[in-house]
Assembly symmetry: C2
Homo-oligomer: 276 residues x 2
């Protein structure tokens, strides 16, 4: 296996046994992560991802053992070891080993090199179905490792032919399990600014949309789905993915929206040219 | 180190490196646990703890790799290896290694033998201070590993001389981070039945209280603290621990309540005689 991981100063094969059993991520779910990929061999929007990672660490009061420059060198080493033109990286920072199973002593820092998710160009044009789910992520502005509901619902989603959950609570839509949510009403693009993780793809799409659409970044009501013409979600792996069905209800005419596909094309150009 | 752990069929020293990095507890916070101890060398209320563990597993849709009898044999082996008269056991069942970082394939089952927490008889008589905290545990009836708020607030608690957080939301008290909550109003004992983990110590205390007090198991309002004469919390490690202060406010006269101490004595008798 050419993929490797970095753990507390050492690089070893990706399937290495590395964690002792009293890590606070294992005992107490106390951990955070981030995930991004390369285009043309260059980590995409690396400054943004690093900044978000630093911010999550700060909010969880976990000191980062390395600075951005040191981590960049490790990424280059891991990438070279993989022998692949493109890779994804997953950072995980945990509360570390806790003698008393409660207090943080020293975080454990893991970087996994991972294969890119398989491209699915057909899905990008066809769009996906999601299920509505009454839930709001705890500490939503932190990319904690808490994805219990996503894992718990994985089989049910599959059974219903759905790819994700649309989280909403008290009448407001926040996000999907791992991605942000947008709707179009005519030429107005709307996305939530409340109870969300600030996605880097979301940020890029907002930058791109600004020249072409009216943009509203504000609390998004669940009832607004009724009058939405288009919907889509954004993430590092999903890019700009049309959402054509929510539970039993079609969004608009149930087909990928033309404005959504336009933004998807703009985003594609950014990544195709990345690092050139 | 005489303490050992069991992990997927093997017994090894407690500080062994055993987990690969793509366990769903590490990547997605998808795990559950339980914790109990021996008295007179015999696991306390083992049937109750096992039943709760089974229930958590069922609710997280994780198949248990062993039955109660098989686990009992492992506990006996771990106990013998420890060389200690009394030990605590921590079970952790995780979503296991996930090639796609989402779907459960096969859970990982860990049993840790741990030293008992240090006895603190003075605290049992003096009682403790807690901080109020607006929060309700996600999936409260499952003993998931999600204790992010507890770890996050550990330093703040220490700073304020407090031992725990009292969770309440929308006007209702649920529980503390790892223990249940009771109040006395005169001779009436009240504890919540909503949004709680059903503690085994709570169950024993309710059994014991039944012959001596009027018992109400029902939603408990935060506003009822104003008129509470006594308060206490119950857990495997805290037994029946008086709560004498919540933030800046004293409970009753700020001293351990006499009814609380009476229940504490009854509970002590149960554990002192356990297994005899």
């Amino acid at each position: 296996m050419p993929f490797h991981l970095y753990f507390n100063g050492e690089i070893s094969p990706l399937d290495s046994t590395i964690f002792k059993s009293n890590d606070l991520a294992i005992l107490r779910g106390f951990g955070m992560f981030d995930y991004f990929r390369t285009y043309n061999g260059v980590p995409f929007r690396w400054d943004d991802y690093w900044q978000r990672f630093e911010n999550s660490a700060k909010l969880l009061k976990l000191p980062l053992p390395l600075n951005q420059g040191e981590v960049a060198k490790i990424l280059a080493d891991l990438h070279a070891l993989s022998g692949e033109p493109e890779v994804a990286f997953r950072f995980v920072l945990t509360g570390g080993y806790a003698p008393d199973s409660v207090h943080v002593v020293e975080p454990n820092f893991l970087i996994r090199t991972e294969a890119l998710p398989q491209d699915n160009p057909a899905a990008l044009l066809k769009g996906m179905k999601v299920l509505q789910y009454q839930y709001v992520r705890d500490l939503p502005e932190i990319k904690t490792t808490n994805y219990v509901h996503m894992v718990l619902m994985a089989d049910e989603m599959k059974k219903q032919g759905a790819s994700d959950l649309l989280f909403h609570k008290d009448g407001e839509i926040s996000e999907l399990t791992r991605s942000n949510f947008f709707i179009f009403k005519g030429d107005t693009l709307i996305t939530s600014d409340t109870n969300i993780l600030r996605g880097i793809t979301r940020k890029v799409v907002l930058e791109l949309a600004d020249a072409h659409f009216k943009v509203e970044v504000r609390p998004l009501l669940y009832s607004e789905l009724e009058t939405a013409d288009e919907a889509f979600t954004t993430s590092s792996t999903k890019w700009v993915m049309p959402i054509v069905q929510i539970g039993d209800k079609l969004v608009g005419d149930g087909k990928a929206g033309k404005r959504t596909l336009f933004l998807q094309e703009l985003f594609k150009k950014v990544v195709v040219d990345w690092g050139k």
